[in-house]
Assembly symmetry: C2
Homo-oligomer: 150 residues x 2
DNA sequence: TTGATTGGTTTTATAATGCAACTTAAAAGA
DNA sequence: TCTTTTAAGTTGCATTATAAAACCAATCAA
């Protein structure tokens, strides 16, 4: 590899997002962070990731504003990795990935973790709607490219 | 690398999804497919991806059921890559990535492509709701792990 | 039927990844 | 206080994935 082309300058927001969080590990770390993990060792154990890679990914996620390094809390913890607002706003991405995986990557009887509303225990729903609230699919939409890109 | 650990057996649907589409290129190819691209050369030109990598990714996406290889359409086209239903169902993932990128990865005046409803030209909205329709965020939810995982 | 285009494969170089061993500093224990 | 343990990395090396470019075969246009 001579160096991956950056998509920072791409006019497509999806492309820029993937440029920032589109590698193998970053979203898995974010998933674990949503799940309440905060410490280096917790991520390491949960993901089975090599220490140097985890170190690099955490550093990158912090530098990009998705995680922040909180110096300490109580009881001897040195530092914690916590989701920033930017990181928490990846919630819809995680939910969308989860829904797709549930539908296509599990057998009918297969056990899976599930995301539920805290109060009711009912599953969470994600849907795409037009401004008027009507649910829509890909065929109801189109991409407006920026002029210079055409 | 000695071979990335597969997450096929993970109980978390997000993890399995990332195992399938979590590499650098796959979702970019899917994005282009949503945008109407179907031919090898179109993807190559749009993404600036090396041919061997594109070839490998397309083969993988087909083998996983996200794209399908349609033999021909009209006028001597050899073959086309088209989204399957499984692939089209990645739409919410793409929209979620797009919304996040729009919010955090563009300057206020910066040009960007936008996803709009075809009929009205109005932007598309994505939201997460409880079963009763109330919009909710990450703090309103929790993960139910499978028993054996605990 | 010749030349160009499409859709790849092969080859080779380099960057990313993973593993294991090592380091450092803080926490816990005696 | 001094030692031991643990957490959180860093470093070095082997391996794999990726990229670029050259090559190749089947179409397609003329």
């Amino acid at each position: 590899m001579v160096g991956r082309r950056s998509l920072k300058g791409d006019y497509c927001p999806s492309a820029r997002s993937l440029d920032v969080i589109g590698d193998w590990w970053s979203l898995l770390i974010v998933r674990d962070a949503f799940d309440g993990l905060t410490r280096f060792g917790e991520f390491e154990k949960s993901l089975g990731i090599a220490k140097n890679i985890l170190s690099d990914r955490l550093r990158t996620l912090v530098s990009r504003g998705i995680l922040e390094l909180v110096p300490a809390r109580e009881g001897g913890i040195r530092q914690e990795y916590r989701l920033t607002e930017m990181g928490r706003d990846l919630f819809p991405v995680m939910v969308a990935l989860r829904q797709w995986g549930e539908r296509y990557l599990f057998g009918p009887q297969e056990q899976r973790s599930s995301l539920v509303e805290r109060e009711t225990g009912m599953p969470v729903r994600l849907d795409i709607r037009a401004q008027n609230g009507r649910p829509i699919g890909p065929d109801d939409t189109m991409i407006l490219k920026v002029p210079s890109q055409e």
